[in-house]
Symmetry: C2
Subunit: 346 residues, 2 copies
DNA sequence: TCCCGGTTCTGAAACGTTTCATGGCAGAAT
DNA sequence: ATTCTGCCATGAAACGTTTCAGAACCGGGA
């Protein structure tokens, strides 16, 4: 098998063997080696074997920079998510990667952590890499960076955001999700509802809030109040406990599960009974929601499918070439009721 | 500002502007443009301004393949973790990325998901990319792929694994972690201890188990029994419930928190009282451990610091050049006791 | 006037691939 | 014999940078 070639084991070659070293060793031209690599059928059985042997003996590894430079294709796409620490996004990433792999595309994964500055750096990096497409859960709304990218020839697919006719997009109806949570709480007899959210500059938060408010309004109950957290993290949720309790709500809807779990811990430590005193509903239905101190009701999103679809849209856009009409795929979320909102289920 | 240059907005340039287009527009040679990009001080104030203006007007973006090809440096490292869905690894990745950024290195992140096949593909990809180093939480022990990589000139740092004198490494003393858990349970008066683990082919699981067994043995108690799960996931933990209960343990130690949380859910559904009937201890102390149905005792690892140190070791290895002696940095884990093992704390 | 050192800038070579027009060769058809 | 057709292999050009030896210029000292 592969054993580093002639020298003693552990030898550190100054420059790794290139295609011409392989060609020399196999007694063929570089063009032939390249053909073995890229169009194996066009080369005779015997030469192919000889070349493959040489590759093996020299430990040749293709230099993808050179390959990309000449061929003009990178076979690579970039994925930029909002928070790699959130299982929702890792599920999404896995689905996306699976679909991409089926089209021989590698995925470069980044987390903007909600920072516009980080996002800009990461997009820059991906553009310099000449990735064939960027799939992104953008921070903020304006997306002028993304339009620029697209104008320069890099396809952009919006994930969990609207394409606004400028990009393909795939998302889940956050408005509906918020309203599912709202009407569930209303039907459970709750009236003083608090919404724990990040800034409304985050579209997901805004839409979920809008849906919630609409559902509550249509029932005639008091409009929900809000507690704003700086980030959608567990510790932020925990630290918001006092502010939430100050509003004396009988139900709390959180913009995602992570913040809900943090808040739940705070509520229990403060002696509040969940759901008796306060019902709690989260968003995303991450796996840890089910194992929470009080199993958490949550609005489930099809994360993996979101990712797969995003990749599929991108591939479709490649195929369509010039005349491509952008698609906007919208999934529907689904409410999962558990003990935290009183709806104890199997 | 950047506005796509002369054409109408939304125009799709067939080939993006290169360095020679910039040179032409600024009325200088390509060498000068390159100097502006890479050694700005060696070019006069006025020319620099002119070149930067041209770059802006044409929307020039450096083609990193060409740059890497010629310069021979990629300014990029690869990180391959075992499970991107485990918050332990995302914390690790964040720390690593922060340190790498301070040395102007970008990080390419992959998850092997415990599959040797995936790991091999990902290493191959990174090698083709000519990354300057690979940081990896390897699946399995043999690591011949990694030695090959190193022999071909790519530095390899083992993360959460031993370097065996062939690589630098950074890890946490898993044996100690297991024994912390073991003696804690013994002191809490438990005697029938079950260890829920993945295959012992996974070194972390093996070492934690060894530590656990040693601690228990030195107390004279019965040796722990084992339940093996196929993967360290929540659902695997949940599905192992019956097998665990069949052993009638009064304490369970899990190889990580995710599996512990899954099992916890199963135990509670089955009517077991935690910690009264069964004490439970996990591993990693991920954030969700604290918000669990019964707050989970766990062995905490300094994930972020592990990542930072790994990156620092790699950078150190670059600096040392030829005569480099591999380091093996070992951190100590720390037991965090919560309600699940009876040690209710603040 | 000539030469010198320093500062800017130039232009061509090189990096490791892929691609493509070309050519040789073997066998089939004429 | 000759021509045609496919199949394989060749070798040079091209991809977009960086690097480097040296040209051009400028002011100052001998």
């Amino acid at each position: 098998m592969v054993n580093g070639g002639s020298g003693p084991p552990g030898e550190r070659r100054s420059r790794p063997a290139g295609i011409k070293a392989v060609a020399a060793r196999a007694g063929v031209s570089v063009g032939t080696v390249s053909n073995v690599l890229n169009r194996p059928t066009q080369v005779s059985e015997s030469t192919r074997a000889r070349v493959l042997a040489a590759i093996d003996e020299l430990g040749f590894v293709r230099h993808s920079s050179a390959s990309q430079l000449r061929a003009g294709r990178s076979h690579t796409v970039g994925l930029v998510v909002l928070d790699i620490g959130n299982p929702f996004f890792t599920d999404l990433a896995r689905g996306l990667e699976a679909e991409a792999a089926e089209h021989a595309l590698s995925v470069l994964l980044f987390s903007s952590d909600g920072s516009a500055e980080r996002q800009r750096r990461q997009l820059r990096f991906l553009e310099e890499q000449r990735v064939e497409g960027v799939l992104i859960t953008p921070v903020g709304d304006e997306g002028s960076d993304l339009v620029r990218l697209q104008d320069r020839g890099t396809r952009v697919v919006m994930v969990d955001a609207v394409g606004a006719g400028r990009h393909c997009s795939v998302r889940v109806d956050d408005n509906l999700g918020g309203s599912l949570a709202g009407s569930h709480l209303i039907h459970a007899g709750r009236r003083r509802i608090t919404y724990v959210t990040a800034s409304y500059a985050v579209r997901q938060c805004r839409d979920r809030g809008t849906g919630l408010t609409a559902a509550i309004a249509s029932s005639g109950a008091r409009a929900p109040r809000q507690v704003e957290v700086p980030t959608l993290t567990g510790s932020a949720g925990y630290e918001a406990t006092a502010r939430v309790l100050a509003q004396r709500p009988d139900a709390v809807f959180c913009a995602n599960d992570i913040v809900a779990l943090g808040l739940l811990r705070g509520l229990l430590e403060a002696g509040a009974r969940v759901p008796d005193d306060i019902a709690l509903v989260g968003y995303d239905d991450i796996e840890f929601a089910a194992t929470a101190a009080v199993p958490l009701s949550s609005v489930r999103q099809p994360a993996g499918q979101l990712g797969r679809t995003a990749a599929a849209l991108l591939v479709g856009e490649f195929a369509d070439g010039g005349s491509h009409v952008h698609e906007d795929v919208v999934f529907s979320p689904e409410l999962v009721t558990r003990a935290s909102s009183g709806g104890v289920m199997a």
